[in-house]
Symmetry: C2
Amino acid sequence: MRVLILGGDGYLGWPTAMAFASRGHDVTVIDNYLRRKIAVETGSEALLPNPELFKRADIFHSISGHRIRVEIGDCTDYGMLSAIFKDLRPEAVVHYAEQPSAPYSMINYDCARKTLNNNINTTFNLIWAVMEHAPECHIIKLGTMGEYGTPNIDIEEGWIEIERNGRKETFLYPRQAGSLYHTTKVLDTDLLWFYVRTYGIRVTDLMQGPVYGVSTEEAELDERLFPNFHYDDIFGTVVNRFLVQAVAGVPLTVYGKGEQIRGYININDTIQCVELVMKNPPKKGELRIFNQFTEKFSVNEIAEKISRVGNQMKLNVKIMSIENPRKEKEEHYYNVRHDGLLKLSLKPAYMTDEVLRGMMSKVIKYKNRIDIGKIMPRVSWRAA
Amino acid sequence: MRVLILGGDGYLGWPTAMAFASRGHDVTVIDNYLRRKIAVETGSEALLPNPELFKRADIFHSISGHRIRVEIGDCTDYGMLSAIFKDLRPEAVVHYAEQPSAPYSMINYDCARKTLNNNINTTFNLIWAVMEHAPECHIIKLGTMGEYGTPNIDIEEGWIEIERNGRKETFLYPRQAGSLYHTTKVLDTDLLWFYVRTYGIRVTDLMQGPVYGVSTEEAELDERLFPNFHYDDIFGTVVNRFLVQAVAGVPLTVYGKGEQIRGYININDTIQCVELVMKNPPKKGELRIFNQFTEKFSVNEIAEKISRVGNQMKLNVKIMSIENPRKEKEEHYYNVRHDGLLKLSLKPAYMTDEVLRGMMSKVIKYKNRIDIGKIMPRVSWRAA
């Protein structure tokens, strides 16, 4: 299948590109290196340096024999994006090309505006490029579970039927997110839904929970092919950050009470989900939504797991509660449907002790690269 | 009160500015003339030429003795907007500064992107200017009833409480709009709600129905002070367009079956509502939402009213159904709560025969200025 991956330099974009190329798809990636630039600006470089995309594609080709086509460009530039669509006419496009850091989006006006305009205009341009040059193309859009926030009722899978006075209507499940970054994903969903129902494009919106993982099957070929693994306060998600803290001998920093519950997913399952979705496209004029995670934990539960496994590995892991830099409910109801991807036959890789040990062993190899100055939160939701 | 009006050149912005200045408020208006530029580009000039803002403020001052301060600038330019906020520290800001035409937003990529970026970035900049320079300031934001679309259940006033399995949560009422323009207003509401609950700003979001009317109390002082009255397919709302069609001897063009029901409001009531809201601000950290219309009609009912009154005035009005250029339900349920503004003691001016006669008499004066080439729809929702 001809697949275009937007945000192909990212933590998820690059491993997805390798996995799809390995399975025989014709893969092109686009990236504008926005995350790299922000990482440098904010002193949030990844644990391992990642070669730039042309270089990585060369390394991957020389080892595996599979080619990945690389385009460096900014998806908010419609001229560039539509030219690629016109030339390539992709059958599926995977859209990871968003500024993905919640803390970054909360630093100040400039960071917030950059996040808003990058994310909204990339989604908007993608919609138009599909409408104009590849109307059959399946848009696979990475959303986030964070769009829903933590309402006091069950979270359905994307949609909700509401009954009132004997009448019924089905709506997008109401969304209220906890950061500007997450709010831009709500706006994306609104935009996609408008263009789906008006012009009959074909979209899958994946409400993904926090992803964890150090490596993937193809990345194992060469450490220069590893996903960019962040453990800092800007780009590091909680599990990855805790793994590094455990290895570095820094107490795991639980924000506030630690009873914040989220749905988590292994990076290998992200790739599996996106592939399953690509193989099973929705109809034209359908916005299909999946809640993309495999199991849910509180932050305290994750800290306890990592601490237990780390201590088995003689790491002497401590847990420390710190003031929550975010504005979020620290104790809340959280009951979420997520059976859609299982029905597409997703086989989850759960966060077992073995999986945690495997990840920690990899991090231990690079222990000397850890900069513990990158870990503590520098951005407060209260300070803007 | 120190009031800043964004979009002060517009159909609603200018009359609001005059009304508030007359009542002793300290009024500043900002506009970038975007609507004027689009009107020229699309051949959609208003019935009467409107002097530019400095000129109109001079005319108004020389007749009434009241001053309106004028700033020409683009609210998507944060440097400009924040400098004005820093200098003025407004107590209330009325935000009309959006590209307001649904058909324009549906012409092509460029028009859609201009609408998206103008509307979202203006709202975003306003939020930040308030947070940084006037945190007590009351944002009065013009939304649209079109945000809700036409769901099959009752439309509440902004919010909906949902009960599920014995648990309850209150959400923004789910929104699904019928054009990209209307969708940008949904995005505005999402953004406002995020910043309200995160940083405690103070916002009233007015879900307004289509507005009609030729003149206001202050405009009566001099015809050069009239609101810019559009009857074209781009900016003309249905009542104003039908009034002109009746006078011009062109059949009233009902789109499709004509059973589309909307809530309508007289331009004088818009001013009254905005003033009531300004006098009764919400608390800090509150997003207060009103459904701003006074009575609801189907398009057929409006056509019949205008035809009946026109025929009494010997105008020989005909009604003609044409293919609907929009994608919308032509028959639908529509039951909407709108008691919030009545509780603030709004005294509605209804669309009586007398009101229609008054408006039609004014249009008759300018009959020779009508260009019937501007009336038929040029933009189809199906063509993009």
